[in-house]
Amino acid sequence: MSVRHALLALLSEGPKYGLQLRQEFEARTGEVWPLNVGQVYTTLQRLERDGLVVSEDGEDGPQKGYSITADGARALTDWLQTPSADAQPPRDELLIKVLVAVQVPGVDLHDVIQVHRRHLIELMQRYTAVKADAPEDDVALALVVDAELFRIDAAVRWLDSADARLRRAPRAAAGRPAAPARKAPVGRLGAVSR
């Protein structure tokens, strides 16, 4: 999972403080991925070093503000639209990209989903070609290929379902947590542990 790009996505909405970024990150990823403060600041420092964000002058701390740069916005768009280089893309990576895309202003969610759908179906075409060209009695090969095809098919179905779900949900509702952004989130996982 890329904390780096998730923070860029949050900053694409406007300048934010470090503490606010951590709270919004957790709230918008369904609080499934808790972040520690150190992770947030280390990542912000690296983003600043790479010219992808700029910070306000002043002392470091939870109230220090950050803004995204033009290079940062480009890096974010590139990441959202880039399919995994692996032959076996992890589904969690798709999930986080779609979750992040939901909150980036100006990004066409359906285009992001389509880039990944096309990539996965091209991968399926390659596997199916293996099966199609093999002798019909090569059952072992067919079983191996089928296992891959069903796994990728599950990711495609999830993308189809996400596409349909996002089509029905108003964008604001899809991308925003129910609680106000500055308030500490008390979510599904947090509420249980407190």
Partner: protein
Amino acid sequence: MLELRGVSKVYGGGPTAVHALRDVGLAVAAGELVAVMGPSGSGKSTLLTIGGSLEDATTGQVVVGGAVLQGMSKKEKARLRRRAIGFVFQDFNLLAGLTAAENVSMPLELDGTSARAAREVAMTALAQLGIEDRAGHFPDDLSGGERQRVAIARAVVGERRLVLADEPTGALDSVNSEAVMRLLREISRRGAAVVVVTHDAQLASWADRVVFLRDGRLVDQTAAPSGPESLLASGPRPPA
């Protein structure tokens, strides 16, 4: 073999008009298998019925085997369909009162071929699909997979060069569905242009090219498949 040029289809008019297709351009060559994917209501089936001359485009041009459909009479279109276009539907659409062989030979007979010659051609088509021994059976006596093979035989019999299939595997299980896609692929390899509408990515992956529709627009398509060599390799890849 099939070409849609700037095709739009609008049902109704005024504020309640439904734009089923919007400025769709698609060319399917002889020997090519193309899958059309998209969510419900994206225009997949409309694309197939317009490409098969069952419906007219509101604007744009449809060309089948070099013949422009616009301006053709209903009779001319019906003749084109009998001779050049085969359809495969989800629910097979076989006539219950005719045997498998009669279902397959019927379009030829309607087009003026003698019953005997039509039956010979039908038997050849059934043999190519491996069900010649079921030629005398009625649809109700056939399994789902056999019924779909008869439907495909009927779609490709004679000199049909364009085969249009709408969710052709219906409710078949995955192994029988794969068999149907293998047949459609084989038919395309023999020189027909085949278009398959499906929502199933595994079926679509049998196609040479997958095109994606959204809200009536053709929004994307797959690139030519790259080689499968590296997919199943367990060791390091050889140097380029």
